[in-house]
């Protein structure tokens, strides 16, 4: 408490001193020639503006060196390169404009600071100049729009994967505050989901239709596993509120909207290991992480984050993303437990048993259950 009061007193004292110094300078100017006063003030402020230009440009340059290396590293997906190129080109254009206009603005401020013996130059307009700075930005922007839209067309060209059976598909459904990640299993097809209150319950949040055979080899995962070089489509949805599916390193971002499916298409360009190796050559990533004692690149993982405000734990919707080779992926798929067996057939079955249960056999037994239930219903009537 004592320190709080002391700190408050110090703050009050600070502002009081500033105030009295300022007031004194105002009083001392009484009786002086106003133009002379303005000349010396403008002289000082004009010089300060020029100093601001030099120091400011210095600080901007320094920040590129100091903060640049901390930015997200290079894109880890094929389309991500398009985005990064576009970002870099635009940044070059923007910085050029930033530097030139600031040099003009603040040097003019310095050069034309008030002098009693001078008069401003009456220069109300010039169509030629207006023309120049309409046409030049127009040309530059046309170039950027053209490049941007053609990249955009490539990124959202879903047709290019049509009929391609070598596509990795997975489904991410967001809810407060986590992700339900579903893979279609070896058959590559998701089981149907039926949105009604019969199918959706606490055991089956997504409303998966277990009678659809495609659902039988689907499985849920606690991490996203992708294959290097394999085109990937992620099907997105949300249960309760808006969420955003964001893979920062892959330059993938798309909202998850309740009641409206969305999707994104990308191809990982590196495995996690390859990407780590890439980072290990960079100075920033060679620094030691104080928490683990490892170099930063060694602790690196790809991650999934939420980018649409979804409530109090919006900041904590993290999942790990691993990019592996096809062999590693196939092995992982086989190892995963089929949610169908867990949820429908026998939740208590040991994973090993479930793993080997032939699909047909299980379906038959399920159909029997369904039949007998139906018979009971009919009999009851």
């Amino acid at each position: 408490m004592g320190t709080t009061i002391l700190a408050l007193l110090a703050v009050v004292l600070f502002f009081t001193i500033i105030f009295f110094v300022a007031k004194a300078s105002e009083l001392s100017s009484i009786g002086k020639d106003a133009n002379e006063e303005m000349e010396s003030t403008s002289n000082l402020q004009g010089k300060l503006l020029f100093a601001f230009l030099i120091l400011g440009l210095g600080a901007v340059a320094w920040s590129f060196f100091e903060l640049g290396p901390r930015m997200l590293p290079q894109a880890a997906s094929e389309h991500g390169v398009l985005i990064d190129d576009m970002f870099n080109i635009t940044t070059v254009v923007a910085m050029l404009v930033f530097v030139l206009t600031h040099i003009a603005l603040l040097s003019f401020a310095y050069m034309y600071r008030y002098r009693r013996d001078k008069q401003a130059y009456f220069f109300p307009h010039s169509n030629k100049l207006e023309m120049i700075w309409t046409v030049i930005p127009a040309i530059v922007l046309t170039f950027l729009v053209f490049r941007g839209i053609s990249a955009w067309n490539q990124i959202f060209d879903f047709e290019k994967l049509e009929g391609n059976t070598e596509v990795l598909k997975f489904e991410a459904t967001a809810k407060q505050f986590g992700w339900i990640l579903r893979y279609p299993g070896p058959d590559g097809e998701f089981g149907n989901r039926i949105i009604d209150s019969e199918h959706i319950n606490q055991m089956n949040e997504l409303g998966i239709d277990w009678e659809d055979k495609n659902s039988h080899d689907d499985f849920f995962a606690d991490e996203i596993v992708l294959v290097k070089g394999k085109p990937t489509i992620v099907k997105l949805g949300a249960q309760d509120v808006l969420h955003g599916f964001y893979l920062p390193h892959f330059r993938v971002k798309m909202d998850c909207v309740p009641g409206m499916p969305t999707q994104f298409m990308f191809t990982p360009a590196y495995t996690t290991q390859e990407y780590q190796a890439l980072l290990s050559t960079k100075k920033y990533w060679q620094q030691i992480n104080p928490e683990t004692g490892n170099p930063k690149w060694q602790d690196f993982t790809f991650e999934l984050a939420c980018t649409e405000l979804c409530g109090k734990s919006h900041f904590a919707m993290q999942k790990v993303v691993r990019v592996v080779t096809q062999e590693e992926y196939d092995k992982w798929v086989i190892e995963k437990n089929r949610s169908y067996y867990y949820s429908v057939i026998n939740p208590d079955a040991s994973p090993e048993l479930v793993e080997v249960a032939p699909v047909e056999l299980v379906v038959d037994s399920l159909l029997e259950v369904v039949d007998s239930t139906l018979m009971e219903v009919v009999a009851a009537h």
Binding site: R70, L105, Y112, K118, A151, G244, P258, G259, T262
Partner: protein, 598 residues
């Protein structure tokens, strides 16, 4: 004409109506004098700016030191900061209210409310607004909106916390289990916004009607100061855009209270399918941004107008390209209505529609660039008096450039995939429409303070305010561009190793935020002290900055009705500086022999 009776006889001039006495209440509180209403908007805006700034300090503390505790927070905020650490729920309430307050209550009402009210009648030579009553109501609706929003801080579930953009379904269900602030707090948010929109519409209609109908003799449209053009366009934007938000909020409240499904479809909460069917959250986003994007021009236009005016007066040089300035404002006004969906490139909207919005969005950079080059040419070979308003005007141009160029990144949908909802966006809009608009506002306050209160603000404190704000402002928001892939609206970054590289940068930005806030304390001291004790303006120095516009032809304390005698007549455009052998040629000065009107 006495101050007491003027407003009864705006039409009849000389006829006095003496039986109605003006009381303290009708002079200072329920005043219909546009000048008093302007001051009410200004003081209320300053109050809100202080609150909004204070909120940002709280959440900046959390961002800089997420693992520290600050006992003072618990004593100030109680259960919202148990143990001296902000709760995540309250963090989101803080950012939500910070956005709402700054965007609507400060930079819309506080900025155009103040300067449209103050400058339109004084600069076009009118005795008051077209409807002084509506004008008064406009303020009191704003005041009521302020009261409702302020009270929402003190209810048990706290104020709205689903973001200032109020997206459903987070804000679309009245369920505090989903989001604490989506209960009564958000109802109050909607109530407050509704009152706000009524107030804003009453004001805007009045501003447009006044500019069109009540210009004094000789004040043709092409002789109007640019700030009046800007304020009129602002009002047009408000009239056309705010109703969309009102409709959006109305439907949202139907969803919340009556169980309709305008914005909701197939919601599953804890494995329980809700009854909502057939709506779409995207419809709300379209309606919201149909206001939300023109809103940024509602914020920046008055600042642009003020800056054009201030640069020209203190450079003693005509604003360069007067007609190009008007046309570019007009172009921004029109194109500004066709760019809203650039906020929605990755919300699930069709990528094909996205392309159209890329084109319109980047198109808007052209009129913006024209304005910047014209401002720079305005000071070229001027005779620049670096008074405090001039400093802020120069600062505005710098900030508008720095914030504007990153709009070229964000408007390009391809880049926006990565940058959407990241700190790059936060840096961009805080510089271009936050800090820059504030600089425009301050330029206006320092410029017209003598006209408002008959006294001067202390210039030294003004310079301290300027340098603290511009250096601090850049230090807060410039580093955010390097956090290009780091998501915004994160309470902490420790859950992700991808986003955890900026811990010390966050400390740096928080310290800078305190610097900026300290500079604002200097401004507050200066403002309120000078209002009562500042250096007095005298009758022999009625035009202290040497401006051409009409407001400086009034007396030190103009009464209700503004001019004691006849209204001034206008003979020339407002930018006849350093011509005709004189530095200033006021608008009401008849043309000299053989001189041609500009």
């Amino acid at each position: 004409m006495s101050e007491v009776t003027a407003h009864h006889d705006l039409e009849h001039g000389a006829h006095h109506d003496d039986h109605h006495e003006s009381s303290w209440l009708t002079t200072y509180i329920f005043s219909q004098d546009h000048k008093m209403i302007a001051k009410q908007f200004l003081v209320t805006g300053i109050f809100w700016a202080f609150i909004g700034g204070l909120l940002s300090l709280f959440f900046r503390l959390q961002l800089a030191w997420p693992n520290e505790t600050f006992p003072i927070l618990e004593s100030l905020l109680g259960s919202w900061a148990e143990g001296g650490k902000l709760s995540n729920e309250f963090y989101y309430a803080l950012v939500t209210m910070h956005g709402t307050i700054l965007v609507f209550f400060v930079l819309t009402a506080g900025l155009s409310g103040t300067f449209a009210n103050f400058l339109i009648p004084l600069q076009i030579g009118a005795r008051d607004m077209a409807s002084p009553l509506m004008n008064m109501l406009s303020y009191w609706f704003f005041f009521a909106a302020s009261v409702v929003l302020f009270l929402s801080f003190f209810i048990q579930t706290g104020p709205a916390s689903g973001g200032w953009t109020a997206y459903p379904p987070l804000n679309g269900m009245r369920d505090i289990a989903i989001n604490k602030g989506s209960g009564l707090g958000f109802d109050m948010w909607i109530g407050s916004m509704t009152l706000f929109i009524v107030g804003s519409t009453l004001g805007s209609l009045n501003y447009v009607a006044t500019v069109i109908n009540m210009r004094t003799k000789g004040m043709s449209f092409t002789k109007m100061p640019l700030v009046i053009w800007a304020l009129m366009f602002t009002a047009v934007l408000g009239i056309l855009a705010f109703p969309a938000l009102l409709a959006a909020c109305g439907l949202l409240e139907f969803d919340r209270l009556l169980g309709t499904s305008f914005y909701l479809n197939n919601i599953v909460i804890n494995g329980d399918l809700q009854a909502y069917k057939g709506g779409s959250p995207l419809i709300f986003q379209h309606l919201f941004w149909f206001l939300g994007h023109p809103e940024v021009y509602i914020i920046i236009f008055p600042a642009m107008g003020i800056v054009s005016e201030v640069l020209s007066v203190h450079a003693k040089k005509p604003v360069f390209g007067y007609k190009a300035m008007i046309l570019s404002l007009g172009a921004i006004l029109v194109i500004g209505f066709f760019v809203w969906a650039h906020h929605m490139f990755v919300t699930g909207m069709s990528p094909t529609i996205g392309k159209v919005f890329v084109i319109f969005t980047l198109l808007i950079a052209i009129p913006s660039a024209i304005k910047v080059f014209n401002w720079i040419t305005t000071i070229w070979r001027g005779n620049l008096r670096f008074t405090p308003p001039m400093m802020f005007a120069i600062g505005f141009v710098s900030l508008f450039i720095s914030g504007g160029i990153t709009g070229i990144h964000l408007g390009n949908s391809t880049i926006d995939i990565q940058l959407h909802d990241s700190y790059f966006v936060v840096g961009h809009f805080h510089i271009v429409m936050g800090v820059a608009a504030f600089f425009g506002m301050w330029a206006g306050v320092y410029q017209w303070f003598p006209k408002m209160f008959g006294r001067f603000m202390n210039p030294t404190l003004g310079y301290i305010h300027f340098w603290g704000s511009i250096i601090g402002g850049y230090m807060v928001f410039f580093p955010m561009h390097f956090m290009a892939g780091v998501p915004r609206r994160y309470y902490a970054f420790d859950q992700f190793q991808s986003f955890n590289n900026f811990t010390d940068v966050n400390v740096f930005m928080t310290l800078a935020a305190f610097l900026v806030f300290a500079a604002q304390i200097v401004f507050l001291i200066n403002f309120f002290y000078s209002m009562f004790k500042g250096k007095e303006m005298t009758e022999d120095n009625l035009n202290p900055w040497g401006a051409n516009t009409l407001e400086w032809t009034t007396s030190v304390h103009p009464g209700h009705g503004n001019w004691e005698g006849d209204l001034p007549e206008v003979h020339r455009w407002p930018y006849d500086y350093s011509t005709n052998g004189k530095e200033i040629n006021p608008q009401n000065m008849p043309l000299g022999e053989g001189e041609e009107a500009h």
